[in-house]
Amino acid sequence: MRSIRGRVVLLVLAAQLVAAVGAVGLSIWYVHRAVWSTVDSELKARMVSVLALVDDDVKSPDGLTFDGDQVNIPKEDLFCIDDVHGGPVAGSSSWLTTNKDRGQHEDGAFFFRRGGVIYRAKAHMNAAILDQENHQIPQLYVNVYYAMPANRAEAEIANATRIAISVGLLSLLISFGSTWWAVGKGMRPLTDFAHQADLIEADGAQFEDPTGTVRSTELVPLARALHSLVSRLQRAFRRERRFLSDAAHELKTAVAIQKSTLQLLEQGKASEEELREGIARALEDTSRTENLVANMLLLASIDYFQRSTGKGAIDNEAPLGLNESLQHAIDQLVPMAKIKSVSVVFDSCCDLRVRAPEYELNQLWINLLENAIQHSPLGGEVKVEISRIEGSACRILIADAGPGISSEDLPHVFERFYRSDRSRSRLTGGFGLGLSIAKAVVEKNRGAIQIENMPQAGATVEVCLPAVDA
């Protein structure tokens, strides 16, 4: 049976049934005993009254007489008195002739059936007859049999049995009903949960914390688990939604810029020089959009990679030289550094290699270096340092001498589209994706990244990546 309610009810009923059978059996046995013991004492009394009518026969030695006129017993009763040799002395006429009902019984009680009536009978062997006149020690012994119909006793027992069984069945029925109801009621919160869970929107909205409203303590862990699951989903959904809305804003703005630049050219008459300038501006806008789209696609592809294959499926990447990879990125950024008169000081290290796709690694260094150069003061210095750390890993430090990151921005710098000082980032054309991409690349390649302010000045990014020796 799959239903919890059904299983519980079945179990309870089985236990109840065993108990009921025991109780009913016991009470029937007790009634049985009580009824038959009453019947037997009555039987004995009547037997004694019959025995009292037996006397010794003065005419013959060892002879016995029976005072048949004095017999005062119910007419359905049967009795029979034999002398010790088996010779009949007296008895009910019908019983004297046919001896089969008495059988071969010794002392004791027995049943027999006669003419559709059940009789309870008792036999007493060697019953002593007291001499009523001289009160001598009795010398006379007889065998006596006495029987009386047991219909009433039988009916009484049958009645008691019926009542006991009915009570047993009734109690079974009651416990079935109450168990069914109680289990159903106990399961109600679960049904309510299911109902509430049914109402949860895809984004997890409209779900209230059920922990407080659950009355059964057994359900509190479930309620708590459900709530924490939904909260996690809600947070994930909110993040995704914010990312989407930010992405849409950036893309629409980028398109709006391109469109307005072109429409501006369309309006009125423009000289050839103006047209050329306009086209150059439109191209600039286009490459900005291109850059944004490329960044978003890179993020999306890393996300997709991590979701579909899990982290760390990078072992088949060819190991790349760390020194060369960083030097290459630094070379690419020389023009930008020159504009701000920033010098990049590179402290290379022992020959370490990193298993990561070349494009991703390059993008990682470019993003981090660009960030450092942008935030450096005019004529400042960006320090790049590689070191080997315990196990097979390497640490890359990129430090700038800029103003550092404000404490309110610090927890958010890796968030997508987050710009700490937006007016400044805008001027450098950032979208707030550089550090998000860096983090995604590092984590995809089983590394860790963190950023912190230095006590003296500037911010330092620390990247740890698994490395192999060359």
Binding site: T253, K259, L264, Q267, R426
Partner: protein
């Protein structure tokens, strides 16, 4: 007319400023950041604010709320990348006069800018009429008694503002604020120069005088009581 653009995307702000000043002949100021934008908008010398919703500093929504709380009635045209009903309704309920979703059409933006300014000055039509003086805001031209009046851009701007506010007194300071960008030399006598040029071109050869000077108060465009 004086328009304030609050938009953090510098390129977009420049393009908008160029289009509005070139096409509509309005004076444009640009704020790239929310707090600066709010500060400028609160000065009250603008005829229209073009406001982007996603801004550094304070957001567009907050800026709008602050502006309206301060009792500023300048029309606000909101630019937004969000097109959902909820945002649009929220923005309009919050005190915006119109909205435009990015990416927008420059022509549409210009039309809305002009319409909002016209409406806020109590004019429904894009041609402003006073007696036989007609000013067409679309072609930016004026005719008096069906004869075209040749005006320089600055003269046109001055006339357009006076026409939009016809029937009320416009001070010299108000003209300076609305016709020139905010760092213009406030004590120059440039306004007197333009007014006298306008008088010469519009009123000199006509039988009815329309430009009136209220000494110590300013200027007013209205029909002469004599006529």
């Amino acid at each position: 007319m004086h328009v304030l653009i609050i938009e953090d995307e510098e390129r977009l702000a420049q393009n908008l400023a160029k289009a509005i000043s070139k096409n509509a002949g309005f004076v444009v100021d640009v704020a790239l950041e929310g707090n600066e934008g709010l500060h400028l908008a609160l000065s009250g010398s603008f005829d229209l604010v073009v406001l982007d919703l996603m801004l550094p500093g304070i957001s567009g929504e907050e800026l709008l709320t602050e502006l309206r709380r301060a009792g500023n009635k300048t029309p606000v045209l909101v630019l937004t990348a969000k097109e959902d009903k909820q945002t649009i309704v929220g923005v309009l309920d919050n005190g915006a006069d119109d909205y435009l979703a990015k990416p927008f059409d420059l022509g549409e933006l210009l039309a809305r800018v002009k319409a909002l300014i016209r409406r806020s000055k109590g004019q429904a039509s894009s041609s402003l009429v006073l007696a036989d003086l007609i000013l067409d805001m679309n072609t930016r031209s004026a005719t008096r008694a069906e004869v075209r009046v040749e005006l320089t851009p600055m003269e046109y701007r001055t006339l357009e503002y006076l026409m939009l506010r016809q029937g009320s007194v416009v001070s010299k300071e108000e003209l300076l604020e609305h016709l020139y960008d905010y760092n213009w030399e406030k004590f120059s006598n440039v306004i007197e120069v333009y007014i006298s040029a306008l008088r010469r071109k519009i009123d000199a050869s006509a039988h009815e005088r329309l430009i009136h000077t209220l000494r110590g108060h300013g200027y007013m465009l209205r029909r002469s009581e004599a006529a």
